[in-house]
């Protein structure tokens, strides 16, 4: 047995982990992060627990108590995507635990112990982004669960003095058929004993899919009951004794620096405790939230100019077009074959520009955090809803000048993430204010106005697509030039790995405006899949070819993608004509999982309002842990996609963001939903793939393609607001 020593382990880290265990009774079963170090320790024996923590890098995924209750830890953020169920469920499956006796809790936020596969070899991250959670923890959780079961089996074998291979398990029971004996996992707790070695469970030693009792079944999400009676705790709900409140005024010109001209007046307001200047904002701390908010409104601030000054987002597109036209290539994202040569020998060429305005996350829970810094400034507790980060301590140690292990993160449910909460600017702000107010705990709240006006947006961008076809109409080259700010933020999703096109070129040409940008659900996939899928239909339209038939040809070498296309065409009765005034449109997306969507729309030619009636999706996500939850992700992904495609738009005038709240940044509402979003999950035993960002990027292409079929007109600029639709119809 190899023991992996943890060189970074130290006393303070051990203390925080010990505290995490102190409140629990029963036995913690520690299994080495790499499955190498089983330890069984009574949770009440904190001395021993601490010693183990000091010596080894170990993972506590599970605790068992004598009454049979099993607590499994979830290392990922829960923002509605279901990690609070899916990861523990995978563990429970291999442990053969009785799910009705399983409790789920957040694991401590310690990446060296609980981190998933990082972005670089050998790294471990607690970072709930990119729809990677199930994919990256699937093997880890299965293996750890299988090892926990092995410890239970070994203990029963020792207790009964029978060979371990005569034992089986079923729903938290160990069974010895030869002697007709059973014992529950809980009853085994006093007899738990460690084997000399733990097998390294892989492949065939894990359950086969037909043995699954939990994975792939209809299991309700664990945290939903708390979300219907108001007890689910979000960071915004944290209240601590002596807590004070902080707010910031950040203005509407990103990057501008403030000069406060009435500080003494603000400080004289009853209940105002402190004014804290930031490079980009003025912070106010007060005894109550209402006082802090009232003081924020009274701040008189002179703002400097910024990089964004003079920038008008809705007038920038001609410049983007000019950049796309330049002969000098940008950064090459992907190149195969020779696009230039293919274009020269082409029978026909197609060129189109697709555009998209900024969109904002607008998650319903405004950004917030609560931080309490100890009087000596050396330790801190942070209550936050975060998608975590490359730094699991969310930047707080640097601000306080303390080692990471002195900061304890208490992760709460996220009232929406969508990428916004993978940027922890709000946590940093809270730490600065809390440091100034130590040892009083401080709650930082962004107002909705802060959230929209000082948002970090999906970038505005332009996609210039140039496609060539040969004499038979076959697509021979595909050139995709993205112009915009933010690198990967605009370039992701431009690749066509499932369309067999011999010559492809993807390049990114940079332009910067000084507007804050961030990953927004599905990132560049939204605009890029729109451009690709709409372009394909424009070609099909020109060739008088069926759009599904065109994609069928392109997907010939990608059977899994093709299966989603064929399935959804069947679900939507693609071949059957729509009723009068309606049309269907198709779009394919790969974002880990593969999905094809078909929507059916109608258009009010007087108002320009597009109505989506139906959406069908066929999805291949590999092994699906929670099928109903995957369907929920498809429904939510489509509706959020519709919201962004039909309504959402951030505009910038002279560098200043023009929107501030839900009245002028409108989201999709109940009256605008389709009659159905129907998902078929294709059966698969492949490794699970992410599903949270596959549906959203289907929407724009599918709607534009249905619109083209219905009207013969092309929608090429997101969002498809009624004004834009009317302009296209009348153009």
């Amino acid at each position: 047995m190899t023991i992996k020593h943890n060189s970074t382990s130290n006393n303070s880290a051990a203390v925080s982990r010990r505290q995490f265990l102190k409140s629990s009774s029963g036995v913690a079963l520690f299994i080495g992060a790499s499955g190498l170090l089983p330890q069984l320790i009574s949770c009440s024996n904190t001395q021993k627990v601490r010693k183990q923590f000091e010596k080894h890098s170990i993972t506590a995924w599970v605790q068992i108590t004598e009454d049979g209750q099993i607590t499994i830890y979830n290392p990922a953020a829960e923002m509605g995507q279901g990690s609070m169920t899916s990861l523990p469920l995978i563990f429970a499956e291999e442990m053969d635990a009785d799910w009705t006796q399983v409790n789920v809790a957040f694991s401590p936020q310690e990446a060296d112990i609980y981190g998933g596969e990082g972005w670089a070899p050998g790294t471990k991250l607690m970072f709930t982004v990119g729809s990677r959670t199930t994919k990256s923890y699937y093997t880890t959780m299965r293996k750890a669960g299988a090892q926990a079961r092995y410890v239970v089996l070994h203990s029963a074998a020792t207790h009964w003095e029978v060979p371990i291979d005569e034992l089986t398990t079923q729903e938290s029971q160990v069974i010895h058929e030869n002697t007709n004996r059973t014992i529950s996992y809980g009853a085994l707790v006093p007899f738990l004993a460690l084997p000399e070695t733990l097998p390294d469970f892989t492949g065939e030693t894990l359950k086969s899919p037909e043995e699954f009792r939990l994975i792939g079944k209809a299991i309700p999400r664990t945290e939903i009951p708390s979300k219907v009676d108001g007890t689910a705790k979000f960071a915004i709900d944290i209240r601590l004794p002596d807590m004070v409140y902080g707010v910031l005024e950040r203005g509407n010109l990103h990057g501008a620096t403030p000069t406060l001209t009435n500080q003494s007046e603000i400080l004289a307001l009853p209940g105002v405790l402190k004014v804290v200047p930031f490079d980009y904002a003025i912070g106010v701390v007060a005894e109550t939230l209402e006082t802090a908010l009232a003081a924020k409104k009274l701040l008189k601030i002179e703002w400097s100019e910024a990089l964004a000054s003079g920038y008008n987002s809705q007038e920038i597109y001609p410049r983007y077009e000019a950049i796309a036209t330049e002969t000098k290539r940008g950064k090459i994202v992907h190149e195969q074959g020779d696009v230039t040569r293919a274009q020269r020998s082409a029978e026909k060429g197609y060129t189109a520009d697709f555009k998209n305005d900024y969109v904002c996350h607008a998650q319903l829970e405004p950004l917030n955090a609560v931080i309490q810094v100890a009087e000596d400034g050396k330790t801190a507790d942070v209550w936050v809803g975060s998608q975590q980060g490359r730094d699991t301590k969310l930047g707080v140690p640097d601000i306080l000048g303390v080692p990471p292990e002195n900061v304890t993160i208490h992760l709460q449910y996220l009232g929406g993430g969508f990428g916004r909460r993978s940027m922890n600017d709000f946590v940093s702000e809270c730490a600065v204010l809390a440091k100034a107010m130590a040892p009083k705990p401080l709650k930082l709240l962004w107002t909705r106005e802060d959230d929209v006006t000082y948002g970090a947006f999906r970038p505005l961008s332009l996609q210039r697509l140039q496609v060539s076809t040969d004499a038979t109409g076959k697509i021979t080259s595909f050139s995709h030039c993205v112009v915009g700010d933010g690198g990967h933020l605009v370039a992701s999703g431009a690749r066509n790995d499932h369309y067999a096109i011999p010559n492809q070129l993807i390049e990114w040409r940079e332009i910067t405006h000084g507007v804050r940008l961030k990953h927004w659900r599905s990132v560049g996939h939204g605009p890029n899949k729109f451009a690709i899928e709409a372009m394909l239909d424009e070609i099909a339209f020109n060739q008088n070819t069926d759009p599904v038939a065109l994609r069928r040809t392109l997907m010939a070498k990608s059977p899994r993608a093709l299966a989603t296309l064929e399935k959804v065409a069947e679900m939507a009765q693609w071949e059957a004509p729509s009723q009068e005034g309606r049309a269907k449109g198709v779009a394919f997306v790969e974002h880990g999982s593969l999905g094809t969507g078909i929507c059916e729309i109608s258009v009010d030619r007087n108002t320009g309002i597009i109505k989506v009636h139906n959406f069908w999706i066929a999805l291949d996500a590999g092994t699906v842990v929670q099928p109903d939850n995957v369907k929920a992700q498809m429904e939510g992904g489509i509706l959020m996609g519709m919201s962004s495609v039909l309504k959402e738009q951030i505009t910038v005038v002279d560098g200043k963001v023009q929107q501030s709240n839900y009245h002028d940044y409108q989201l999709l509402r109940m009256l605008e939903i389709p009659d159905r979003v129907e998902t078929t999950i294709l059966p698969s035993t492949e490794h699970p793939e992410g599903v949270g960002e596959t549906a959203t990027p289907m929407v724009a292409g599918a709607i534009a393609n249905a619109f083209l079929k219905l009207t013969g007109k092309r929608l090429r600029h997101l969002p498809f607001t009624p004004e834009r639709v009317l302009a296209v119809l009348n153009g």
């Binding site: 009676d229 979000f234 109550t288 319903l364 829970e365 909705r448 009245h663």
Partner: protein
């Protein structure tokens, strides 16, 4: 600072806050009734929906001083005694919430609807619920849950 006495979930609460403080901040930051959520502060998102004398209202735009003596405030915490309002049960059955943040407001709005109209048709539900935003896009399941609860209403009445 003035003192206000409020009847919330059939309990009397007394709070000292500045005049004009919203009922939302009173509930959340002074009384610890955190089920009612803050979303916009301008009655656009409906996340803070609660009942005042059994009618759905947006707590973020109700100054506490405008609550009259004897007016009954009901929040998600007071909707049922054991989280067993037919809507709450239907919400779990439909697995409606995702992030869950808007759901107390959704449920309070829906509860007011069913109290007024135990068997609303789909169009009526949509119209009544239109003021409460959900960013995760759970509207289809919210609709399903309301129809489930309304269905159980029609069975029991």
């Amino acid at each position: 600072m003035p003192t206000y006495t409020l009847d919330i979930n059939s309990e009397t609460h007394t709070v000292d806050v500045a005049e004009g403080t919203s009922l939302l901040w009173v509930l959340r930051e002074h009384l610890g009734l955190n089920g009612t959520k803050y979303g916009c502060g301008i009655a656009q998102c409906g996340t803070c929906t609660l009942h005042v004398d059994y009618r759905p209202m947006r707590a973020c735009v109700i100054p506490v001083d405008t609550i009259a003596d004897g007016q009954k405030i009901t929040t998600i915490e007071g909707l049922s005694t054991n989280s067993d309002h037919p809507l709450q049960k239907a919400w779990v059955e439909a697995q409606a919430p995702q992030c869950g943040y808007c759901q107390p407001g959704q449920i309070m709005q829906a509860a007011a609807l069913l109290a007024e109209n135990p068997n609303p048709d789909r169009e009526t539900i949509k119209r009544y619920m239109n003021g409460v935003l959900c960013r995760c896009g759970t509207y289809l399941r919210i609709l399903e849950a309301i129809e489930l609860a309304a269905g159980s209403n029609s069975k029991t009445t």
